[in-house]
Symmetry: C2
Subunit: 87 residues, 2 copies
């Protein structure tokens, strides 16, 4: 059993109005040192397989086909073996 932690972020060239709104809120709280705030998605899932290579391939396919919009978004992920498992 593996755990995948996936980050989906807007590409740098794409405007991020949600990030801008959050940045304004942060600055209005008095933190003037904050810049370049960007908001993305974080997805966690478990993959029931004994092969890390297969877990990686499955996660990549799920990101490409479902979780990320390839025109506007980039994704990255970490795969880790879950504790308490022997396979």
């Amino acid at each position: 059993m593996f755990s995948a932690k996936i980050k989906v972020t807007l590409r740098k060239s794409i405007l991020d109005p949600q990030g801008k709104a959050v940045e304004h809120s942060i600055q209005s709280m008095g933190f003037s040192s904050i810049a370049d705030t960007r908001i993305g998605k974080f997805i966690e899932l478990k993959i029931d397989t004994s092969s890390e290579e297969e877990a990686r391939l499955v996660t990549d396919e799920i990101c490409r086909k479902l979780l990320a919009n390839p025109v506007m978004e980039d994704y990255s992920f970490d795969i880790s073996k879950m504790n308490g498992e022997k396979n």
Copy 2:
């Protein structure tokens, strides 16, 4: 200048209907080995300070006061020094 990468996730005890919907989509694509899908937010921001300790304190305060709902959500973050900076 430091970069903070923040993850805000629903607490384990809170139902995540968005995660369930994504999980059903993944399974209907043929990936039956996927379970426990949960969706959170990923926030990146830059902090203009020369002290890692200050960057950490500022980020923690922003998470507590603005980014995470302390009743329903947990947060974690990594602080890293940005390349090309000497301070």
